[in-house]
Amino acid sequence: MTCLPEITPGQKKLGLVIDLDTCVGCQACATNCKEWNASGHSGPLPDTKPYSAGAEGVWFNRVHSYEAGEGERGRTVNFPRSCLHCETPDCVTVCPTGASYKRIEDGIVLVDHDLCIGCGLCAWACPYGAREMDEDEGVMKKCTLCIDRIYNTNIPEAQRQPACVLTCPTSARHFGDLGDPDSKVSKLVAERGGQPLMPELGYKPVNSYLPPRNRSSVAAKPDEAVPTPMDIKNPLLRWMDKVLTR
């Protein structure tokens, strides 16, 4: 059903918190997502012309890199981009078949591949580029928040998390319930000033991006008063009478 579930206070909103301060752009989230999902809920994620020019495939997670600011004062920021599991996503409401849906129980936005006609309208409606067409099967695919991991009783409890989160070597990805203000992820967003992407479009993204932290400044100032060796006749004499014991 492509009508959005009614939002009630305290409703579960599963999503990701992505730390732009520690992401080094290693692509682990992208490829681990790809391998999990290739054989997972949405698999396969086909790759066309895999060994020729024009190789391209279906990926749920793509890592951009940007430079913000100029010259030495600027920063390089690696920027993973995937479905934000918005609270009010048009990608769901525009779907003519009911294939695209937002789950009332956890807020995950999914596509039912058996219903999808592959019209592509949901991709047009998504400002974030979260949806990727499987042109081989003719259906739209997207991040499932690893729905076949997070509730999977065949997986040890500690690992019931999205593949991208578990694999991230710099812990730049966090998963949890952003509808619960006391959850670890909600606190992280509050503490670090997590930001939604393009809030002006009004989709209310659930995923949040933690901004690069202000660079800590060096406490110490060079002590200019210390004489330079040229000023001291024999600077080595300073150490002459130091009594050193082991």
Binding site: Y66, T93, I117, G118, C119, A123, P127, V139, G202, P211
Partner: protein, 306 residues
């Protein structure tokens, strides 16, 4: 946005078909269209059906297209499908009425068909107008534009057919009026999107504006992807300006002038003028519709190009 030929053809053809159906349903029962009207109705239905079939060409799973009518409560695409299917009923009844010459049924069916045509084209327009990430489509003039262009192209076709049937200045005058209106609307639209502010920036898309100007260092992949092919279409400003001129001249101004000429001279020259006008209008509208896609920009490209 990528101007996929199937979609360009679909919206142009079905738009013209619904325009034709609209005018036929409205005018034929009033006797303002010469001849029986069955040919016009057939043409309208052929255009509509061809357009709808063409639209399924861009579907990944056309055999499931029937599912598309299920979500009319939220989806304009679904509503369009429902409206399109429902409109077939009065349209076919109108055909029956014209065939058996049942004026009362023709009147009712005609009005219902006209209403259905308006509803369907409105839905088509709303599919585009409801897409917030595409600034050029999420605009108040988009739906009026779709309606006006549909009315204009329908009128042009009806005028041509009427001329073949030996007269009918009303459709030609309607073509003049709707053409002029559509041209003004389209010019206003172009002016608006040319000067409109962006809905978002690379800074808001990345949240990094607080640091300074944001530039892409590297794309996520050095190779292509679906989104880039679908939404990364770019057209040079100069090229677009030239196409706009052609669309205005061939698609609007010339057909309007030819329709005026036809009203003034009548007879065989009118038939020729209106036929030429119809061909030009449809051609011009294909260009206009192609531009509608080519000039549209999607916010996702902020992540790739800033």
């Amino acid at each position: 946005m990528n101007p996929a030929p199937s979609i360009v053809f679909f919206t142009t053809a079905s738009g013209a078909g619904y325009g034709l159906l609209f005018w036929l349903g409205l005018l034929r029962p009033l006797g303002l269209v010469p001849g029986q009207g069955l040919v016009a109705l057939a043409l309208a239905l052929v255009l509509i059906t061809a357009g709808l079939l063409s639209s399924t060409l861009h579907l990944g799973n056309p055999q499931r297209a029937w599912r598309a009518v299920s979500q009319w409560r939220s989806s304009w695409l679904s509503r369009e499908g429902v409206a399109a299917i429902l409109t077939y009923i009065p349209a076919l009844l109108l055909g029956l009425a014209l065939w058996v010459d049942a004026p009362a049924l023709a009147l009712i069916a005609g009005l219902l068909a006209a209403a259905g045509a308006v509803a369907t084209v409105y839905c088509t327009g709303m599919i585009y107008a409801s897409l917030k990430p595409i600034r050029q489509w999420h605009h108040p003039l988009v739906v009026p534009g779709y309606l006006a262009l549909s009315a204009f192209s329908g009128a042009v076709l009806l005028a041509m057919l009427a001329a073949f049937a030996g007269g009918g200045a009303v459709p030609a005058l309607l073509a003049v009026l709707t053409g002029a209106a559509a041209l003004l609307l389209k010019r206003a639209y172009w002016q608006a999107i040319d000067s409109g502010p962006p809905i978002a920036t690379i800074e808001s898309a990345t949240t990094l504006g607080f640091i300074g100007k944001v530039r892409q260092l590297d794309p996520p992949h050095t190779e292509q992807n679906y989104l880039l092919r679908e939404m990364g279409f770019r057209i040079a400003r100069k090229h677009a300006a030239k196409l706009r001129l052609i669309a205005q001249g061939a698609g609007f101004a010339l057909p309007v002038l030819l329709a005026l000429l036809a009203v003034l001279v009548g007879g065989t020259p009118a038939v020729l003028a209106l036929t030429l006008g119809a061909v030009l209008a449809i051609g011009g509208l294909l260009i206009e519709r192609w531009l509608m896609f080519a000039e549209a920009t999607h916010t996702v490209m902020l992540y790739y190009r800033g």
